[in-house]
C-alpha cells in the first residue's frame, strides 16, 4: 500500500492491467460503447502508453439504435486522437428488421451479444477490454478482472480462474479469449470524480437539457428520431419536452432519462452522491427476466 489518493490508486491499477494486456496478447481490442465508462477507458488507454498511441484498435458494436449524439461524439473522439475505430453491425439482424420494440430481449441478444461475438471472431481478437464495473450489478460483482471465455465465447461463472494479487493469468489456447475489466473496482462516483479531475470529454446527453420524450413503463424515453414515432404510433401530443439527463447511455428506446437540473459535473456528482437508485435501474434491459438475467446474458457471451 502506498500513499496514492483513492483515484490515483484506481488509475494505477487500471493502467497496470491495460499494459499487461498489451504486452501479453497478440490481438487486443478495446470495446468502445461511447458511454462515460468508455470515455474513462479511452482516457486510461491514452495515458497508459503515452507518448505511444494505444497499440490496439477500438471496437464499437452498433445496434443502429444508439442516440445520434453518441455516434457524432464517437466520430469526433476517433478523429481527435487518431484512433483506429472499428464499427460492427449485425447485418443479418438489420435485414430481419430486429428492433427493440417488437423483439424484446432477443433484440439485445441479436444486435448486441451476437454482433459482438461476430466481430470478435471476424477480427480474431484474443483479448477484449470492457468497461464493466463490479458495483453495477450482482453477477458483475463476482467476475474476475481477466475473465476467461471458451472458444464459444461463453463465461463459466462456477469455474473461474483464481486471480491472485496482480498476477493475471494470460495463457489461452487458439480460439479462446479473455474479457478484461480494468475499471472493475471503480464505483459510479469514482468515474464522475475522475472525469472531473481529468477533464474528460463525455457525450452531452449526460447533462440535463430540454429533450423531447415520452413516458413508457415508468421510464422517460427520448424521442431521438422518427422510428420510435412510427413504431409506437406517437401523436404530437404524446411527446413532452422535459429537462432530462441520462445516467447511462445505450440504445435510446431502452434507456430511461431522469428529470434533472444538473448541467455541470459538480451538479451531477452532487446528484449521484445523493442518488437513491443505482444506475442500472434506468436500463430497461436488466429488469427483463428478473434476478439473474444479467448473468444469463453474460454466460451467453454478452459483455
Amino acid at each position: 500500500m502506498s500513499n496514492l489518493s483513492h483515484l490515483d490508486a484506481l488509475e494505477a491499477e487500471a493502467i497496470y492491467i491495460i499494459r499487461e494486456v498489451a504486452a501479453e496478447f497478440e490481438h487486443p481490442v478495446m470495446l468502445y460503447s461511447i458511454g462515460k465508462d468508455s470515455s474513462v477507458m479511452l482516457h486510461l488507454a491514452l495515458k497508459a502508453f503515452y507518448p505511444e498511441k494505444p497499440p490496439f484498435p477500438f471496437l464499437h458494436v452498433n445496434t443502429t439504435w444508439k442516440f445520434h449524439e453518441m455516434i457524432k461524439f464517437r466520430d469526433e473522439q476517433a478523429a481527435k486522437y487518431g484512433l483506429n475505430m472499428l464499427e460492427w453491425k449485425n447485418e443479418e439482424g438489420i435485414k430481419a428488421g430486429i428492433n427493440p420494440f417488437e423483439h424484446g430481449s432477443s433484440y439485445t441478444d441479436i444486435m448486441k451479444t451476437q454482433a459482438l461475438k461476430q466481430a470478435l471472431t471476424k477480427y480474431g481478437f484474443d483479448a477484449a477490454f470492457g468497461g464493466g464495473r463490479r458495483d453495477e450489478e450482482k453477477s458483475r460483482a463476482k467476475e474476475r478482472i481477466f475473465s476467461f471465455r471458451n472458444s464459444a465465447q461463453a463465461w463459466d461463472p462456477k469455474n473461474q480462474r483464481p486471480e491472485m494479487w496482480k498476477l493475471y493469468n494470460t495463457e489461452i489456447n487458439q480460439g479462446e479469449s479473455v474479457r478484461v475489466f480494468p475499471i472493475s473496482n471503480w464505483t459510479e462516483k469514482d468515474i464522475w470524480q475522475y472525469i472531473q479531475r481529468e477533464k474528460i470529454d463525455i457525450v452531452p446527453l449526460y447533462f440535463a437539457d430540454e429533450r423531447p420524450c415520452i413516458e413508457r413503463d415508468g421510464n422517460l424515453i427520448m424521442v431521438d428520431d422518427d422510428r420510435i414515432v412510427e413504431k409506437l404510433n406517437l401523436k404530437p401530443e404524446d411527446i413532452q419536452h422535459k429537462k432530462i439527463r441520462f445516467r447511462t447511455l445505450g440504445c435510446y428506446p431502452l434507456t430511461g432519462g431522469i428529470e434533472s437540473e444538473a448541467t455541470t459535473l459538480d451538479e451531477i456528482i452532487n446528484e449521484t452522491l445523493g442518488a437513491v437508485e443505482s444506475e442500472r435501474t434506468s436500463r430497461v434491459i436488466d429488469k427483463d427476466g428478473g434476478a439473474g438475467s444479467m448473468e444469463r446474458r453474460k454466460r451467453e457471451g454478452y459483455f
Binding site: I15, E24, K158, R161, P162, M164, W165, E171, G292
Partner: protein
C-alpha cells in the same frame, strides 16, 4: 477521513458472512433504494421465509441463490463518513477455497467469522492460515450468532481461548475479537443492547478506525518490474511499469536485472506527465541515458537487494482439481515474468488443523505445502517478507491453463533443483537426438523457395527429426511461439516474408541461425541440400545418405 480499507470476510460455511456484510450495508443505509426493493422481493423466496435475508444482497450468482451458499467472491464498495471500503465476501465451502484465497490476496484486513455455537472449526483455521500466507496482517474474529447462545459470556470466553491459540500458532499480529449477531445486529454498527459485558468497539467502529500500516513499510530500495518497452519512434525508448517500492529521481543510477548493466535515469513520465521524481505505486515510463538490455520481465532497481536465481523455495496453496506431483511442469508467473518451471520437490505439506509438517509425494486441492521450484533461466525475485511483489507467484497448468497454485517465495536458491532444471532442455534435446535450432529462411532473398523448404522439412521428418515449419502472418509477434517450440526441443524452420523485421531478442539467441549462415555458399539450394545442411547443423554425430537415411 481515514484511507481506503480493503477487507475480506471469511470463515466456515453458514457462519453468516454474507448476512453480516448485508446487515452492515443495510444498517449504514449504504444500499440504494432499488437494491433494497429487489432485496425485499427476493427475500420472499429466500431462506428466511419473508423476513429480510441480508445475504441476498451479496450472493449474486444464480447457483448461489438457488443453493443458498456463496460460491465466488463478491466485491462491494461503500463509504461511511469516516472511511471508504472495498469488501470481498468470500465463500466458506472447502470446495471453493481458491475463490476465498483470491479475496485474501487483495485485502489488508480479514474478518474471520466464528459460529458461537460451534467455536473454531478446521475451516476457520484453514482460512486464517491462507490469509496469513497471502500476507494479511490485520484480523478481526467476529464471534457470530451470539443470540443463539443467549449472549453467554463464558461460552464466548471459551471461544476467545481457541482464537488465542490459533493466533499463537500462526503468529498473527493485530487481532481484534468482537461478539456479534449478524441477523439481530448486535455490535455490527451499534453496541449491543442485549448484553453489557462486552465493552470493546463495534465492528464498523473498528473497521473505520483501525490504523493500517503499509505492508511494504519494511522493504528496502527502489524496484520497478518492467511491463513493456514503450517505443513510439527512434528518439524515445522508455520502460513502463509500476514502482513496487521506493522512489526514483531523474539522474539516479539504476541497475537493470538480470543483465546487471547500470545507467542514469534520463526522464520520468508519471503516467503521461514528465516529473523529476516518482514513488511507490505510481505507473511510470522511465528513459535511461544509454542503451541497456531491458525487456519485459526485467527489473530496474537500486539498493533493493533483489536476487537473481533459477531455483527457489515456496510455500504454496494448491488449487487445482488434479493432484500436484513432483516433476510437474508449469508456467510460473512472478512479477512481469512468465517462465517454464518445474516442481522439483515437495519438502512437506502443512496440516491445516495442527500446523504439523507432513511428508508428501502429492498434493490435493486446497492443501498447503512447502515446495522447491526450478525455472529454465534465472529470474529476479526475493523472499516475500523482504519484497512482497518480488515474492508472489502463481503456477499455471501448461495444458489446461488453469491457475493451479499460488504461493510466496520463502527462500531464494536451492540445491538439487539445478540438475533437474538444466537437464530439461538438454534432456529433450538428447532424447530427440537433435539440437533445437531455429533456422531463419527468407524465400526470394536467400535463394530458397517455400516449396523446397517444405520438401526439405518432409525429408527431415522422414529422417526422424522433430521439426516445425513456422510461417508467421504479416505483423505477427512470432517470437514467443518460436521460443516455445525451441524450448520444447523442436527444430524450427522459420519462414519470414522478405520485408518482415527480425526479432532481435530471438535472433540474439545462440541457437538462432539464418539459412545464409549455414548454406555453405549454395546459391539456389534443392530441398535435399537444405535438409542435409539442417540435419548436419542440428546433430553433430550423424549424417544423411543420399536417400535421407541416417548412416
Amino acid at each position: 477521513m481515514n484511507g481506503l480499507l480493503k477487507f475480506i470476510t471469511c470463515g466456515s460455511v453458514d457462519d453468516g458472512k454474507s448476512t453480516l456484510i448485508g446487515h452492515l450495508l443495510y444498517d449504514a443505509k449504504l444500499i440504494y433504494a432499488d437494491q433494497e426493493e429487489a432485496l425485499k422481493m427476493d427475500s420472499k423466496v429466500g431462506s428466511r421465509g419473508g423476513a429480510i435475508d441480508y445475504s441476498l444482497l451479496l450472493d449474486g450468482l444464480l447457483a448461489e441463490r438457488e443453493q443458498g451458499i456463496t460460491i465466488d467472491v463478491a466485491y462491494r464498495y461503500f463509504t461511511t463518513d469516516n472511511r471508504s471500503f472495498i469488501c470481498a465476501d468470500t465463500p466458506g465451502h472447502e470446495e471453493y477455497t481458491r475463490n476465498m484465497a483470491c479475496g485474501a490476496s487483495f485485502a489488508d484486513l480479514a474478518i474471520i467469522l466464528v459460529d458461537a455455537k460451534q467455536g473454531v472449526l478446521i475451516q476457520t483455521k484453514r482460512h486464517a492460515r491462507i490469509c496469513a500466507l497471502m500476507g494479511i496482517r490485520y484480523f478481526v474474529f467476529a464471534v457470530n450468532k451470539m443470540d443463539l447462545i443467549n449472549y453467554d459470556e463464558e461460552k464466548f470466553n471459551a471461544i476467545v481461548a481457541q482464537i488465542e491459540e490459533l493466533k499463537k500458532n500462526l503468529g498473527l499480529a493485530n487481532v481484534q475479537i468482537i461478539p456479534v449477531s449478524a441477523t439481530e445486529g448486535d455490535n455490527i454498527t451499534n453496541p449491543s443492547t442485549n448484553f453489557t459485558w462486552y465493552q470493546g468497539p463495534t465492528l464498523l467502529h473498528h473497521l473505520e478506525n483501525v490504523d493500517i500500516q503499509a505492508a511494504t513499510a519494511d522493504e528496502s530500495g527502489f524496484y520497478l518490474p518492467v511491463q513493456r518497452v514503450c517505443r513510439p519512434n527512434h528518439e524515445f525508448r522508455g520502460f513502463s511499469g509500476q514502482i513496487e517500492h521506493g522512489t526514483i529521481h531523474v539522474g539516479d543510477v539504476v541497475k537493470s536485472l538480470p543483465s546487471g548493466e547500470e545507467a542514469h535515469v534520463k526522464s520520468i513520465l508519471v503516467v503521461d506527465h514528465e516529473e523529476q521524481e516518482a514513488g511507490e505505486g505510481q505507473p511510470v515510463t522511465i528513459q535511461l541515458d544509454r542503451e541497456v538490455d531491458v525487456s519485459r520481465g526485467c527489473v530496474l532497481e537500486s539498493g533493493s537487494g533483489l536476487q537473481t536465481a533459477d531455483a527457489f523455495q515456496t510455500e504454496l496453496l494448491w488449487m487445482d482439481d488434479s493432484e500436484l506431483t513432483v516433476g510437474k511442469n508449469f508456467i510460473i508467473k512472478l512479477g512481469t515474468k512468465s517462465i517454464p518451471g518445474i516442481v522439483t520437490k515437495i519438502d512437506h505439506k502443512i496440516d491445516i488443523n495442527t500446523g504439523e509438517f507432513q511428508n508428501a509425494d502429492v498434493l490435493k486441492k486446497n492443501e498447503i505445502a512447502v515446495c522447491e521450484i526450478a525455472v529454465t533461466e534465472p529470474i529476479i525475485l526475493d523472499e516475500f517478507k523482504k519484497h512482497r511483489t518480488a515474492g508472489e507467484l502463481i503456477l499455471i497448468d501448461r495444458i489446461s491453463h488453469m491457475t493451479s497454485a499460488c504461493g510466496i517465495v520463502t527462500k531464494v536458491g536451492g540445491d538439487g533443483a539445478k540438475k533437474v532444471l538444466h537437464a530439461d532442455r538438454q534432456m529433450r534435446s538428447a532424447l530427440n537426438w537433435q539440437l533445437p535450432y531455429v533456422i531463419e529462411f527468407r524465400p526470394g532473398q536467400d535463394g530458397t523457395e517455400l516449396a523446397t523448404i517444405s520438401e526439405a522439412e518432409y525429408n527431415l521428418v522422414r529422417a526422424g527429426r522433430h521439426t516445425y515449419l513456422y510461417q508467421p502472418e504479416a505483423g505477427e509477434h512470432y517470437a514467443r511461439t518460436v521460443k516455445a517450440l525451441s524450448d520444447a526441443g523442436i527444430i524450427v524452420l522459420l519462414v519470414l516474408d522478405a520485408d518482415a523485421e527480425v526479432n532481435t531478442k530471438l535472433s540474439s539467441e545462440s541457437n538462432y541461425k539464418t539459412w545464409s549462415s549455414i548454406a555453405r555458399g549454395i546459391a539456389e539450394p534443392t530441398s535435399q541440400q537444405i535438409s542435409a545442411a539442417v540435419f548436419e547443423r542440428t546433430n553433430a554425430n550423424v549424417t544423411l545418405d543420399s536417400n535421407n537415411w541416417v548412416i
